[in-house]
Symmetry: C2
Amino acid sequence: MLNFTFQNPCKIVFGKDEQKQVGKLVKEYSSHVLMVYGRNSIKTSGLYDQICDSLKAEGIEYVELPGVKGNPEMDLVYEGIDLCRKNGLDFVLAVGGGSVIDTSKAISVGVPYDGDVWDFYLRKCKPTKALPIGTVLTVVGAGSEMSCSNVVTKADEKLKRDFDNQIIIPRFSILNPELTYTVSSYQTACGSFDALTHVMERYFTQVEHTDVTDRLCEGLMKTIIAFTPLAQQNPDNYDYRAEIMWAATLAQNNLMSTGRDGDWACHKIEHELSGEFDIAHGEGLAMLFPTWIRYVYKSNPERIRQFGRRVFDIDLAGYDDDVACLKVAEALEDFEKKIGLKTDMSSLGIDEATARMLAERCCWNAPTKGKFRKLDPTDIAELLMQAAKVR
Amino acid sequence: MLNFTFQNPCKIVFGKDEQKQVGKLVKEYSSHVLMVYGRNSIKTSGLYDQICDSLKAEGIEYVELPGVKGNPEMDLVYEGIDLCRKNGLDFVLAVGGGSVIDTSKAISVGVPYDGDVWDFYLRKCKPTKALPIGTVLTVVGAGSEMSCSNVVTKADEKLKRDFDNQIIIPRFSILNPELTYTVSSYQTACGSFDALTHVMERYFTQVEHTDVTDRLCEGLMKTIIAFTPLAQQNPDNYDYRAEIMWAATLAQNNLMSTGRDGDWACHKIEHELSGEFDIAHGEGLAMLFPTWIRYVYKSNPERIRQFGRRVFDIDLAGYDDDVACLKVAEALEDFEKKIGLKTDMSSLGIDEATARMLAERCCWNAPTKGKFRKLDPTDIAELLMQAAKVR
């Protein structure tokens, strides 16, 4: 087990009707708020009115920034920074999923910074100040509601970039599973697979003696795998939605990282995919992860086997590593198919030149990506070409 | 799943040598500190000197309050409150295990309170202010280092009483497994069993649809059960000590309570036991818990079976509930024996009158204790008499 520091002060308010507390929760920090959201869904669901009523009841003034899309873009971040500065807003309330929250996080560090907020994503410097953030979560998966992470896209350059910093952890997040009933089956699959991957990225480590966090990771993964198909079949079942909602938050709040390091190669490679192509992050991960397992398993077959045994309950006794790890990759593919995700990138029509370009772009700030096995641009291009084949 | 609020801002600094950071961590809050510890063990181990050096290096003045014992007493709490007030100390640094930390928590709420701090334990009122606390943990089990709980004893009245409050969560806790190498095999067993019980109290619930936290609880319990005997056999094995140290902290930081309620009858009954008799809290729990399972299993046999199947890997298929739940109680007893704890209270020599007296005392503030099955004083006396028989 590695030495670690863990701290996550985010207040989670979980359950039915809890969105009605939003005014009181915001009021602890501010009376002048930027409210960030996506498109019309929160208006048709009635959530928008509930939020506005709750803010008004506490005398909180708010300016709205609607229009956040999946793979959220920097243009809207700059617009939000301007709105905060012009109107003296000192709190960002995100009402939506990961894209809305990540846009809010980018705004929160941009407002008190004199330079271009994109500097933080290019690793030119680290943010030292941020406006406080609160969230009302409506789409499960990204885990941004309790994380120190965020990722945004500069559309003109097709660059999707991220950074982590403790100061962007939300002060509070309201999680009401009812607010996710209208999330489509496909979006539910993408969100769950993203959450599952947040655990897998941490689970596949070369650090030894990580038993307690292994067990916790396995618990989250088993929960996501069991309840995602059930939630797809019963979209307005509170309990199924609740299980994946809380599991997805815990998947990304860094508790699962304690004492270990993670791999994150698939996440970094996927960011290049969804920067270049218009695909959902969760499905991009599904297209990559089984191929990643096949590509890297020789670096630590026992860890892949443990994942298969404990998470998918596969009996691998008697199989050599090559066969066993292939079975594990196939079990993951079977789950992906079950929830309606593509298991390969064949639909993207990537040729070798594109694969090489994406691989080079992925290694923009380091010679390799991933820690379970370090992948250089040649590896990443090869992995992409293997994932591009029909399975 | 129940609605819940979860927030735990404690900063965990975990790993080798991390106690040397204590001065820097304290300095964020204070330069005038009360340092609370137990008896001589931190001096013989060299920890005392390391702490003092680190505090001095940051220019922090400190006053010492040594002498905390197991089942810590209020006399020392009053002494600590006086020391803080007379010397203008505004931070309490606990160096020790649960007793030292709980003494520090009691002092922290007592200093800013005009009345008798014991009022909080008698539920006369709730604390609204507390001095900040930090801890350097040397004994694993109580989980007080990241919890909102504390328990102290008024020796003259043989009363052991507790309260929970968010304001007594430590600001930071330093967890270095090396500092626990000198904890004896018996104390290791007591601590681990206390931690295991913190999970079991939460696990045995009548709330339905608690799947994700069930899985997390099972992960912690499996870890504690696997690594406690290994740590006893290899007391200076870093990895074994690390697994139980982190598991025990997570057992009690309230994450395992999210979306569910707990039972806590055994804890409340045990507080009466160790208030009356000079026994370790962890062993008191071991004396009670298997009998509690036998006494309550009919209230929800499936939950007892799930515990047996998933935590102890017992194959219960084909057994009726009576036999299956008995097997589960026996599996818990086998674990207790394996780590050297008593599985019954026969050594205490309790007669029926004493059992009735303890049962009445246990229900001092409510007609029943426990939620898995509500136990009134008659039940508790009966349970104590059953636990008093030789097994």
